[in-house]
């Protein structure tokens, strides 16, 4: 169906050329599901763009071919490609909300799509649209046709797009991270729908994802990509169960588990090289980060070869099947620190609630009232890491903003180190700055692009009654970068000159600058790649070892919370529905919502079959 043979895509950069994709070979048979797995920058989306004929300017196929049913997609005439796209090849995009024209109703959008597919007759198209929407289990499709995209949730928009993608009985569907922007439970539902539709239509599907576990559960075959190369290719479950290439192995070891004995995460150094660095990587592109690399690797030209029947690996040789877990000493149990209970709580929250009032309609009418957070109470002791999990809209970020004083609670009480700090930020500013700091979710947004790193990380020291003098700040900035695992030569850089992981470290370093006793971290690893996430998580653990810092860790990722936190609160629609020791809550969930959340996560054990279609609705 879709066959790539030694496909190489070269980009013209300002300072030279880079092989964005190098020597890519795979074949996707009719009705099969091929997973393309890799972190951002691996080049996995480039394949989808090549099929769509949307390679960025300056990028071109320089060798090999990508053929769809015998036709080379790289050299296809524009007209022929247009005839193929939307009919024989369709796409399921990453951002469902931005992929639907906001000024058209779902009905109009679907009608246009069906007309393009050659369905004649308005009533006929309407009937078909309702049928297709019904197939993806959208309730009341007739009513839905009248709605506009912004009136639907992300999950519903994605279902509409899936219905459209399958509408023309395509031969091939390319799904580029279709669930990355969605919550876990929604992700499970969407994967269930995709699986069901695919089984019914026997469509070949190329599933691009960063989630190795998800790919292992749903795909027939997977290819693992790193820096524009396929490093490993084989049957999905086999690759996941016994990875041969060190990168695949480290990808798995960098991902925290939700079940089984806790183990330390493997954190690879650095991050994936950028395009401009490719020219300097003549041999194995993974060699600079590889835990088992030897000096020969860097100069060694590698080729994809069959290590055992059906399993293809690109490696020089010595590294295949190395037992990284044993080598890196990851086996030792972590043992989430449990404070002995004699310490006084650093942070005490009592019956915290926040109610938002909606806007009043122009002519009278009642204001809608939203309980963003209802009656939340907990304590945080020195050295304790507590997690809050929940989906978007569960109120977990509001809790963080309330704690930080960025919002004032409607009722309830917040105590920091025995002092009541409920109320606006400015009333207890100096106490708060010294005692509690926040790490923001998106470092891109949280770091002022006009400040250099040195001035960013010491920002909390430049105000207050006694602002620190610059030489002292510089000294402190060096120290902080050391804590955050960044080299000192970063001091002079702007955030735009850093990678995502480095920015998040700067973000953490700033939160540490006043040596606070409590850190509040809101989804700080959700935008990061697995290997960078592992670096950040291990950094937080190191901080706990070095000091008695307490952390409130807010996340939607249960496995990450399990890795870090000894206690957990599960939030749902503003309420804490379950709380307790992490191991207990996750192994014996009591509340139905917790059970649903846990069931929605693809299992870490390949022998357990994930059934996304059976995940309950909540």
């Amino acid at each position: 169906m879709l066959v790539a043979e030694n496909l190489t895509v070269t980009a013209e950069l300002g300072e030279g050329r880079a092989e964005v994709l190098r020597d890519i070979s795979f074949d996707l048979e009719a009705g099969k599901l091929l997973g393309v797995v890799g972190e951002s920058g691996a080049g996995k989306s480039m394949i989808g763009r090549l099929v769509a004929g949307m390679l960025p300017h300056g990028f071109a196929v320089s060798a090999g071919s990508l053929r769809f049913g015998g036709e080379d997609l790289a050299s296809l005439p524009r007209r022929r490609r247009q005839a193929l796209l939307g009919k024989d090849i369709t796409f399921i995009p990453q951002h469902p909300l931005t992929s639907l024209n906001p000024v058209r109703s779902i009905g109009t959008l679907f009608d246009e799509h069906l007309r393009r597919l050659g369905v004649s007759g308005g009533a006929e198209r309407r009937g078909r649209a309702i049928g297709h929407l019904d197939d993806v289990h959208l309730p009341d499709p007739a009513e839905l046709l009248r709605r506009y995209p912004h009136q639907l949730s992300g999950g519903m928009c994605q279902r509409v797009l899936i219905a459209m993608a399958f509408a023309g009985e395509p031969k091939l569907i390319i799904a580029d991270e279709p669930t990355t922007a969605l919550d876990v439970v929604t992700q499970a539902h969407i994967m269930g729908v995709i699986g069901e539709m695919r089984a019914r239509h026997a469509t070949a599907l190329m599933f691009i994802t960063h989630d190795l576990r998800l790919a292992a559960q749903i795909c027939d075959e997977i290819i693992v990509m790193y820096a524009g190369e396929i490093v490993e290719r084989g049957p999905a479950r086999a690759v996941f169960a016994a990875p041969r290439h060190p990168y695949t192995a480290s990808l798995e070891l960098a991902n925290p588990n939700l079940t089984g004995a806790p183990r330390k995460l493997l954190s690879l150094p650095e991050h994936m090289p950028g395009l401009s660095a490719y020219a300097g990587l003549s041999g194995c592109r993974f060699a600079p980060r590889c835990p088992v690399a030897d000096p020969a690797c860097a100069g060694h030209k590698t080729a994809l070869r069959e290590a055992e029947p059906g399993r293809w690996v690109r490696a020089a040789g010595g590294c295949l099947g190395a037992d990284l877990a044993a080598r890196e000493g990851l086996a030792h149990a972590l043992g989430g620190q449990t404070p002995d209970g004699t310490d006084l709580p650093l942070l005490r929250v009592e019956a915290l609630s926040k109610t938002y009032r909606g806007r009043r309609a122009l002519l009278g009418g009642r204001r809608g009232v939203v309980d963003a957070v209802r009656d939340v109470s907990f304590e945080l002791r020195p050295g304790e890491f507590v997690g809050i999990v929940g989906e978007s809209g569960s109120g977990k970020s509001t809790v963080a903003r309330l704690l930080m004083g960025l919002e004032t609670p409607t009722t309830g009480r917040i105590e920091i180190d025995g002092t009541d700090v409920t109320g606006p930020f400015s009333r207890h500013a100096s106490l708060r700055v010294g005692a509690i700091q926040m790490i923001f979710q998106d470092p891109q947004s949280a770091l002022n692009p006009r400040r250099r790193v040195g001035r960013l990380v010491t920002q909390p020291l430049e105000s207050g009654r006694q602002p620190m003098r610059w030489p002292d700040r510089l000294e402190r900035a060096r120290e902080l970068l050391g804590h955050a695992g960044l080299p000192a030569d970063m001091l002079e850089r702007y955030p735009s000159q850093l990678s995502g992981g480095q920015r998040q470290r700067v973000n953490i370093a700033r939160a540490l600058s006043t040596a606070p006793k409590v850190l509040v971290a809101d989804e700080i690893v959700s935008g990061l790649d697995v290997s960078v996430q592992a670096q950040i998580l291990n950094l937080l653990l190191r901080l706990r070892e070095a000091s008695d810092i307490a952390l409130l860790f807010i996340s939607h990722d249960l496995a990450v919370v399990r890795y870090l936190c000894s206690r957990v609160l599960v939030m749902h629609k503003g309420d804490v529905v379950e709380a307790g020791a992490t191991e207990t809550v996750f192994s014996q969930p009591q509340h139905p919502y917790t059970k649903t959340l846990l069931a929605a996560v693809p299992p870490d054990d390949v022998t357990v079959y994930w059934r996304p279609a059976e995940v309950a609705d909540i």
């Binding site: 960025l406 930020f425 700055v433 923001f440 002022n448 920002q459 430049e462 105000s463 735009s496």
Partner: protein, 293 residues
């Protein structure tokens, strides 16, 4: 300490051709304005009734004593143009900065605090903008009386809304960034957050607006002095020169063309300077341009 950080950044704007050309023009006009008595060959009001309506020196019938010719009273056009730059520059700079100060201050308050403050300021802007600007400025001039400072005041009072509206929407965008909240958590007061975090982010926009506003103020002043509502008769201004030359445009068109040219070139200079500065000061645009290069 800031010097060390700023120096690396400093030459960047000077690499832009727009900034060099625009800045050059503006600087030239500014130098003319400041050193008018030293540069101008004659007193701008000195009359030479033997040489009236002379064309520029290089034209047929031109007088080499008067490089750009004379007007109907035999006053040297070049000297009047040079002295006219004084009025133009004073109005452009003072009026634009005044409008910027008033508009930006209110915009920062509205965009940053939101809520009631935003509602009050935004409604005031809406109300203000519902008056036609020409009518409003004429009412203000009639109310204040004729004169240069009143012209400046009128321009400020009419045009602050332009700053307020545009800057407010940009402040709203900046306000949504987490680094504003982060600054508060770092113990910054509201004032400090506004000045150190919000203002630098909207500064490129303000610079662009100021340069555009300077051009607008210059034109408004020229119009008002054209109809005799600006400076007194004995002060040379480009608008006054156009008004005087209008009556004699069938004898010689130069008296009309030269002041108009002065206005056009200066306005282009301001616009180029503003555009070039915005491109070099805005890190987002800067990145895009370096990628494209």
């Amino acid at each position: 300490m800031t010097g060390r950080f700023a120096r690396k950044h400093w030459p960047l704007p000077l690499r832009s051709a727009r900034v060099l050309v625009g800045g050059g023009i503006v600087l030239l006009v500014l130098l003319c304005a400041v050193f008018a008595p030293l540069i101008a060959p004659y007193d701008p009001n000195a009359q030479d009734l033997l040489n009236t309506l002379a064309p520029p020196a290089w034209m047929e019938g031109g007088n080499p004593d008067f490089l750009l010719g004379t007007d109907n009273l035999g006053q040297d056009t070049l000297s009047r143009l040079i002295y006219g730059a004084r009025v133009a520059m004073v109005v452009a700079i003072v009026a634009a900065l005044g409008a910027m100060l008033l508009g930006t201050t209110l915009a920062l308050l509205a965009g940053y605090f939101g809520g009631v403050v935003d509602w009050l300021i935004s409604r005031a802007v809406d109300l203000w903008m519902s008056f036609p600007p020409v009518v409003l400025s004429l009412i203000l001039i009639v109310g204040f009386g004729v004169g240069l400072s009143n012209v400046i005041l009128a321009i400020v009072l009419v045009d602050w809304t332009r700053f307020c509206r545009v800057v407010r929407s940009e402040v709203l965008v900046v306000r949504r960034h987490d680094y504003i909240d982060a600054a508060r958590l770092a113990g910054f007061s509201h004032l400090r957050t506004l000045v150190r975090e919000v203002l630098p982010a909207v500064a490129p926009l303000i610079i662009t607006l100021v340069s555009l506003e300077m051009a607008i103020a210059l034109i408004v002043e020229a119009i008002l002095s054209f109809v005799g509502m600006s400076v007194e008769a004995n002060i040379p201004a480009w608008g006054v020169m156009i008004a005087d030359a209008r009556k004699y445009m069938y004898q010689t068109v130069w008296g009309l063309v030269l002041p108009i040219l002065a206005i056009v070139v200066t306005v282009i200079g301001f616009n180029l300077l503003g555009d070039g500065l915005r491109r070099t000061l805005d890190p987002k645009l800067l990145q895009r341009e370096t990628v494209a290069a």
